[in-house]
């Protein structure tokens, strides 16, 4: 810990108070990049117990904080300067907001008296980030800092988690400015001034009993599981509920790993690129039990035709999600873990497993679909182009089951989500709601920092890689041994796929070219090991080699088939009944 810790009542400056307050929140790592407005915060960091990781771009700091939070469940912390430092982190804030990731972002600000004068590196940070944070603060007095830091962590981590930003004017942290003088105190819950914030966790018991009755009576039910299960640390409870009732489970893109893929009740991922059985099970269900999911358009397809015969039980910590998109029969506001535990009790009171409706026909229908339409791709002959799905399968088979996979956004994300087997919670990290290209490398770095003993693979596309690859310099310098599987097809592949299927193969603005940049040289220049793989037989050995390197990052570039598309697919604007399977599975 910090030497010469301040005692309550000690004269201290705002910069020291901010750093100490972060330590008291249990912060071990800060991802950041300094600037003029944060100089007085960076000085006391030298004496702090917190590790500071110097990023190469502020967007990296934000995504690292997200990756850290995803993997550890603890809030990630980013520290950036005013003006461009703040605007560069708007994307991660928005990403964390829509995916409910707990994170605290501290931004420097010009001195309080200069706000509103268009000072150097001034921007209206609280104004800009109001729409992409759960809450934000502009600190006006040094003495407020310990309290506001405590409030920020409280807001970020309770209720529906999310990003909170604290904008800190330079004068109140600058020891040379009298406005930074304050008396130290350790802020506690009693100091918080949040009269309008009352996150509640217990669900309404009457509603839970009503849900239990619907569940017990349902003949074709599906547990529709979203990221809220992971936020609520409810994976164990979910498993108990599924096994008690024998109800099959679909795990959304944000919930992969919340229920083991290898479990006989697991149907995998639903939605636009979900597998046939998961999509079709929801579509034909008579009851959807939505647990921490929000009926995202990528899950529902055309809303009018989504699960037309299903009653809906919706459990969410956010009251505003209940009925927002799909009308509910029973809506329960509450923490998923607490509500599921109560639900299990109520189902028990109704007779438990023995009282459940006969779902034999439903189960055989589901296994019939699974048999007829498994996830599928056509493996290439030796010497031919490498299939991206094969790369994911090899990665899966040559790594431990608890390997953390961080993905970017696009085709590679869908291959990874579908073809990896997620058997542990908190092993899948991706940008679901915002769909932020470039997410994977910094998120993987953040996850590795939080989980140094675990293996972390980033699965990236060539378009994504070029957006945030510079953070591999951060990883190399900090000796953070993430591994990157770069699926290089020379295209913005998902956009290319849509142009092929829906725009008569008129390819516009999607060709990146597979040869420039030279990814192996680029990786080496950043202090990483670079490996190129062109053919299927090289895949396994390259992964094995990468897994042996633990003192620096590794980039394995896989040259994949640019013509490969993601299937199944529900075309935009269509209902989930129109799911399109792989070409070789059609025509029966």
């Amino acid at each position: 810990m910090t030497t010469n810790l301040p005692k309550p009542g000690d004269a201290i400056n705002g910069g020291q108070a901010l750093v100490r307050a972060l330590e008291l929140e249990g912060v071990e790592v800060v991802f950041g990049l300094p600037g003029g407005a944060t100089l007085p915060i960076y000085d006391p960091i030298l004496e702090s117990s917190m590790r500071h990781i110097l990023v190469r771009h502020e967007q990296g700091a934000g995504h690292m904080a997200q990756g850290y939070a995803h993997a550890t469940g603890r809030p990630g912390v980013a520290l950036v300067t005013s003006g461009p430092g703040a605007t560069n982190i708007v994307t991660p804030l928005c990403d964390a907001y829509i995916d409910s990731i707990p994170m605290v972002c501290i931004t420097g600000q010009v001195p309080y008296g200069a706000i509103g004068t268009d000072a150097f590196q001034e921007c209206d940070t609280t104004g800009i980030t109001m729409a992409v944070t759960k809450h934000n603060f502009l600190v006006t007095e040094a003495a407020d800092l310990p309290r506001i830091v405590h409030e920020a962590f409280h807001i970020a981590t309770t209720g529906r988690p999310g990003p909170v930003l604290i904008d800190v004017p330079k004068d109140i942290v600058d020891e040379n400015n009298p406005r930074s003088a304050m008396q130290w105190y350790e802020a506690t819950d009693a100091d918080m001034e949040l009269p309008g914030y009352n996150p509640s966790g217990e669900g309404d018991r009457t509603a839970i009993m009503a849900a239990a009755e619907l569940i017990t009576a349902a003949v074709r039910p599906v547990l529709y599981v979203g990221g809220g299960i992971l936020k609520a640390r409810a994976a164990e409870s979910l498993r108990e509920l599924a096994e008690l009732t024998g109800i099959p489970v679909v795990t959304t893109l944000m919930a992969r790993g919340a229920f083991p893929d290898s479990h006989e009740l697991c149907l995998g991922m639903p939605g636009m690129h979900g597998n046939y059985t998961a999509v079709t099970a929801m579509q034909n269900a008579d009851l959807l039990v939505s647990l921490g999911a929000r009926f995202d358009d990528r899950v529902t397809g055309k809303l009018d035709g989504f699960a037309p015969g299903a009653k809906v039980v919706h459990v969410d910590i956010d009251q505003a999600e209940l009925g927002k998109v799909r009308a509910v029969d029973v809506g329960i506001r509450g923490d998923c873990r607490l509500v599921i535990d109560s639900l299990i009790e109520c189902i028990g009171e109704l007779g438990g497993a023995d009282a459940q409706s006969d779902r034999g026909a439903w189960r055989s229908q589901l296994s019939g679909w699974q048999e007829k339409y498994p996830l599928y791709y056509e493996q290439s002959e030796p010497g031919n182009l490498l299939k991206p799905q094969y790369v994911i399968e090899q990665l899966r088979d040559l790594n431990p089951a608890d390997t953390i996979v961080a993905s970017g956004v696009g085709q590679h994300q869908m291959y990874a989500s579908n073809f990896w087997k997620f058997d542990h919670p908190y092993t899948w990290i991706n940008s679901g709601g915002l769909g932020t290209m470039g997410f994977s490398i910094p998120a993987a770095i953040g996850a590795q920092v939080g989980m140094p003993d675990r293996r972390v693979w980033a699965v990236d596309g060539d378009g994504c890689f070029q957006m945030t690859a510079q953070e591999l310099v951060t990883a190399a310098v900090e000796r953070i041994p993430v591994k990157v599987a770069l699926l290089n097809n020379g295209y913005l592949g998902m956009v290319r796929q849509w142009q092929e299927l829906f725009y008569d193969e008129r390819f516009s603005g999607v060709e990146l070219g597979a040869d420039v940049p030279n990814y192996v040289q680029w990786a080496e220049a950043m202090g990483c090991v670079g490996i190129r793989v062109d053919s299927p037989e090289e895949v396994g050995p390259a992964i094995a080699k990468a897994n042996e390197i633990n003192d620096r990052p590794v980039v394995v570039e896989f040259r994949t088939d640019p013509g490969e598309n993601v299937f199944p697919m529900v075309p935009a604007g269509r209902t989930n009944s129109d799911v399109v399977v792989h070409p070789s599975q059609r025509g029966e």
Binding site: T126, G127, M130, A131, K134, H135, L138, I155, L194, P195, G196, Y197, D318, Q319, A320, L322, G323, K324
Partner: protein, 166 residues
């Protein structure tokens, strides 16, 4: 104008910088239409009151209330059904009044129980606090005389009292 599509929401908010921006920003990004808005301090300096009338055809009322509730600085929300509340709005209006029209205008003022705030030989500034629909009628009646300026405040409302048995 069908009035039942407008519901009044009375919020108590922390009296902090930027709170109005948080509320109005929420309305615009969620696509909720505000018909009118009134902001004023309360008897407790820590809190202000924001009263808005929302078009519940633009978004379900429940969704508006639930999203507002997520704003950290919003402390209390009351939804007032038009049938179960009393509401008033203030209008200030300047009308052209030649000598020959003065009597007619004064009769209107009498009928509506409006006030003359200011006048000269050619113009009069009037005020009227009333139900929003009443203000609409007043405006229609004044228009033939020539309205030169008009401002309305946005409505404020309180719940109707229970009928207490004596």
């Amino acid at each position: 104008m069908p009035h039942n599509k407008f519901h009044t929401i009375v919020t108590t908010v922390e009296n902090k910088p930027g709170v109005l921006a948080r509320v109005s920003g929420l309305f615009s990004r969620r696509g909720f239409n505000i018909e009118s808005l009134a902001v004023a301090p309360t008897d407790d300096e820590k809190f202000s009151r924001i009263t808005f009338t929302v078009d519940v055809e633009s978004a379900p009322l429940e969704q508006v209330v639930n999203q507002l509730d997520k704003l950290i600085n919003v402390v209390d929300i009351r939804e007032l059904d038009p049938e179960a509340s009393v509401s008033r709005e203030l209008m200030l209006v300047t009308v052209a009044v030649g000598r020959e029209r003065r009597t007619a205008i004064l009769e209107l003022i009498e009928d509506y129980r409006a006030y003359v705030l200011n006048e000269n030989l050619t113009h009069m500034t009037l005020s009227l606090a009333a139900r929003p629909a009443k203000l609409d009628e007043f405006e229609v009646d004044l228009r033939p005389y020539g309205i030169t300026e008009l401002q309305r405040t946005g409505r404020v409302a309180l719940p109707r009292l229970d009928e207490t048995p004596i």
